[in-house]
């Protein structure tokens, strides 16, 4: 690696990568601790979205537990938790029927709130700035910087004005180096720098591979007569086959808004499956479609989430830095919630880092963090539900049966722990799985991908090099196309990947990187791990309002 001398550098005590619930909670907690003890700690937070909240997408039902620990007076401060959770329905769908299932205890939502996580992040951002955190949205951390001894020194933001050919253009501006005593990675699920850190510091040695899901969501404004604020509907079953892990959510928020979405486990096997089309089809179910008569769709987006839980949590610290939130994998699958865990992990990290910064001879690694995480409620909660997700290897019905036994008989303390596989290795051959005929969109309730991407307000500066890099371009055709039928053209919820030239017998892969929603699914599911998701120029990507 050549040393660069063209970049400015700034020194901070703590630099945080990512302005989601975990990163912002860390920033806030460190500043609170500094204020309480009268000490100075400089905290800088980078966010690749054009503003805080622009890239945040979740259901979301929030368990306010962690928020209340961070701000006991969150109500007086006006946190945007406006819709208390009301009636909870869990439905099993067949193609035309729906059957009510008992709600498992983990899925109960009494005391929770239906929120826009993007708006909660915006609010947390304001709180953090008021406490003196320097927040820089529109700047992506593109590179991890290391000291000579191999410990993490900080990060560098991406260069601006690099052309399609990878060469600096006339408006080139070099990135900036941010050096810190501790660099905290809060990139969210499948962080691109976290991936590098996993390899560099062997953080995944001795733990299960992470397993993921892709969540696709739409926001609708519906007929006030059909709106029931607080209503929560979850479904399993149709349109997904019982061997595919997944389900849907439908939440009634304030102002006649309804959030609807589907999560599909990325360990699915059939390469012909399209999570996007499954979601579109789901909306046409008789138990669901009625809500959307006379309604209009106002936003769309997608994001991968970590589902591996306890078994898949990597080593959390390394010299000079640590991992928090969903990039570490803190999400409770049966609860279908991760925000409270992301925030809690961020707060525990803040306390550990704060202690570490003022300790004599503390060393470069804040190992206190991992110790304290294991003593917190977060760890206990993750441990109890560790066998629910892997039980889906027995299909939906096996998993429901096992889940009941694990929860009610063993109360989460079964004397075994089941394991996960890499999602990308699960994809089957295109000839060994049936093709799926998805219905054509009607333009009212169901839509094609491009009109959906339009609503995400995603954009990338057009003259930049694509941020979706193939390690070997030939594999796109020789393996992905030939063996798996180009699955990236189906799992990508934004239509980024297209096969052109099929009619002339010269298929080639076209990558429309400008449409990318930053969901990271391609980086996860590509069968040979040939697609590498890197950060584009800062500020690029979706501009989600209220998601």
């Amino acid at each position: 690696m050549t040393m660069r001398t063209d970049r400015d550098a700034m020194e901070y005590d703590v630099v945080i990568i990512g302005g989601g619930p975990s990163g912002l909670s860390t920033a806030i907690r460190i500043k609170q601790l500094a204020e309480q003890s009268g000490k100075e700690v400089s905290v800088c937070l980078l966010e690749k979205g054009s503003e805080i909240g622009a890239h945040i997408l979740s259901g979301a039902v929030l368990e306010p537990h962690a928020l209340a620990e961070l701000f006991p007076d969150w109500q007086e401060r006006g946190a945007p938790l406006n819709t208390p959770a009301g009636e909870d329905r869990l439905l099993f769908l067949t193609e035309t029927g729906s059957y009510k299932l008992p709600t498992p205890p983990q899925m109960g939502n009494h005391g929770n709130y239906i929120i826009s996580l993007g708006n909660l992040a915006r609010w947390l951002g304001e709180q953090a700035e008021a406490l003196g955190v320097e927040i820089y949205p529109g700047f992506a951390a593109a590179e991890v910087l290391y000291h000579e001894d191999g410990s993490v020194k900080g990060v560098a933001t991406g260069d601006l004005g690099i052309g399609k050919d990878g060469q600096p253009g006339h408006n080139f501006q070099p990135g900036m180096e941010l050096h810190a005593r501790q660099t905290i990675f809060a990139e969210g699920c499948r962080g691109s720098l976290t991936k590098e850190l996993f390899a560099k510091f062997n953080l995944r040695d001795g733990v299960d591979p992470q397993t993921y899901g892709i969540g696709i969501k739409e926001l609708w404004e519906i007929d006030p007569a059909k709106h029931q604020p607080g209503l929560i509907v979850h479904t399993v079953g149709w349109p997904l086959q019982s061997d595919t892990y997944g389900g849907s959510f439908l939440y009634h928020l304030e102002n006649n808004l309804v959030s609807i979405g589907m999560v599909v486990g990325l360990d699915y096997k059939n390469p012909w499956l399209s999570p996007y089309e499954e979601f579109q089809r789901y909306k046409t179910h008789p138990a669901i479609r009625g809500f959307f008569e006379g309604a209009r769709r106002i936003s769309y987006g997608a994001r991968a989430l970590s589902e591996g839980g306890y078994q898949s949590i990597p080593k959390l610290t390394f010299p000079g830095g640590l991992l928090i939130g969903d990039t570490a994998g803190f999400l409770n699958v049966p609860k279908i919630k991760g925000t409270h865990m992301a925030m809690k992990s961020g707060m525990v990290a803040a306390e550990a880092v704060f202690e570490h910064l003022f300790k004599d001879n503390a060393g470069a690694e804040a190992t206190e963090y991992a110790e304290q995480i294991k003593k917190s409620w977060l760890w206990d909660e993750l441990y109890k539900v560790r066998n629910i997700r892997p039980a889906f290897k027995w299909g939906l019905f096996g998993a429901l049966a096992y889940g009941a036994i694990d929860t009610y008989v063993f109360k989460g303390k079964a004397p075994w722990t089941m394991h996960h596989h890499d999602d990308h290795s699960q994809l089957g051959d295109k000839n060994s799985h049936p093709k799926i005929a998805y219905p054509k969109p009607d333009g009212q309730l169901t839509f094609d991908r491009l009109s959906s991407v339009f609503l995400s307000a995603t954009n990338h500066e057009e003259n930049q090099q694509t941020h979706l890099r193939l390690k070997d371009e030939s594999i796109a055709i020789s393996v992905n196309y030939a063996k798996y039928g180009a699955p990236e053209t189906r799992y990508c919820p934004a239509g980024v990947y297209e096969i052109l030239g099929e009619d002339e017998g010269k298929p080639r892969l076209q990558i429309n990187g400008q449409n990318c929603l930053h969901c990271k699914t391609c980086d996860i599911k590509d069968p040979t791990q040939n697609i590498n998701w890197t950060v584009p120029e800062g500020g690029g990507g979706p501009n989600y309002p209220n998601m």
């Binding site: 400015d8 054009s50 501006q173 900036m176 006649n256 307000a457 309002p545």
Partner: protein, 264 residues
């Protein structure tokens, strides 16, 4: 003495201030949506940023300063407290300081022109460079109104600006080609898209901008009544384009245009 910079030729002038009004508008990437009750566009939690034409205005002013023509660039924004962010962006591009005229009143072009008039009296700029219009209401009025209130010359839709001998030579893009005006200073110039390509607001410059001075005043401090003079009755989305049909031949097309569309 001749100075060469950014492809423009300048002559060294007496020190001069440039005032640049910048407006906080809905970001150009956002797909705006009319509120269900038709009272306006839904701006709740949508991304806001600097009006792109104003970014060009700031860039032009900063280039004039870098060329030694201008001595100070002052960015002004009128509106809610969050307009501070817009001013910080202007200062990251290179404005020296910012003035926020803070109000929660929905400001119309005449009110903004009057506020700018009051600031011109206070700051005595030689040029006001503004965007030709804002991408939210597309009014294209504020610069012209300000020139009228100040009784200053104006040159709108500038694609090139050269300052020399107390005059500005401004090239404008018009239907038939290019028109070049010479106006004496002080004056108002409004920017068109091709005037320049604004630089990136880099992270080091954004950090520096946080430390630049930003003053906040209220319309009342400037003695300006900003009460709206116009009332918006209704905001509606354009009618959806109905699906087209395929006609068999020219005769059918003519028949339909005549009898159904009644356009010929």
């Amino acid at each position: 003495m001749l100075w060469l910079a950014g492809g423009c030729v300048f002559e060294k002038e007496n020190p001069m201030k440039i005032l640049v009004p910048v407006k906080r508008v809905v970001d150009y990437n956002v797909k705006v949506r009319v509120k269900a009750d038709g009272t306006g566009v839904d701006l709740a939690n949508v991304k806001m940023s600097m009006n792109p034409f104003d970014e060009i205005a700031i860039e032009e002013a900063v280039r004039l300063k870098e060329a030694g023509i201008a001595t100070e660039v002052i960015a002004v924004s009128c509106g809610v407290a969050a307009c501070q962010e817009t001013l910080r962006t202007a200062m990251a591009i290179g404005a020296d300081r910012g003035i926020l005229v803070e109000t929660d009143v929905d400001l119309q072009p005449l009110a903004v022109a009057k506020l700018l008039q009051a600031l011109c009296a206070k700051e005595q700029p030689q040029i006001v460079i503004c965007g030709k219009q804002a991408i939210d209401d597309d009014a294209n009025q504020t610069g012209q109104m300000l020139a009228a209130l100040q009784n200053w010359p104006q040159a709108t839709f500038a694609s090139k600006v050269v300052i020399a001998n107390g005059k500005a030579s401004v090239t404008r893009e018009i239907d038939g080609g290019l028109e070049t005006l010479e106006i004496s200073l002080p004056a108002v110039v409004s920017t068109d898209l091709r005037l320049n390509e604004p630089r990136y607001a880099t992270l080091p410059n954004i950090m520096k901008a946080k430390k630049k001075p930003l003053d906040t005043v209220k319309p009342a401090d400037l003695g300006v009544d900003v009460t709206p003079r116009l009332t918006t009755l209704k905001v509606a989305e354009p009618a959806k384009r109905s699906a087209g049909i395929r006609v068999a031949d020219v005769a059918e097309l003519v028949n339909k245009l005549k009898n159904e569309a009644k356009v010929i």
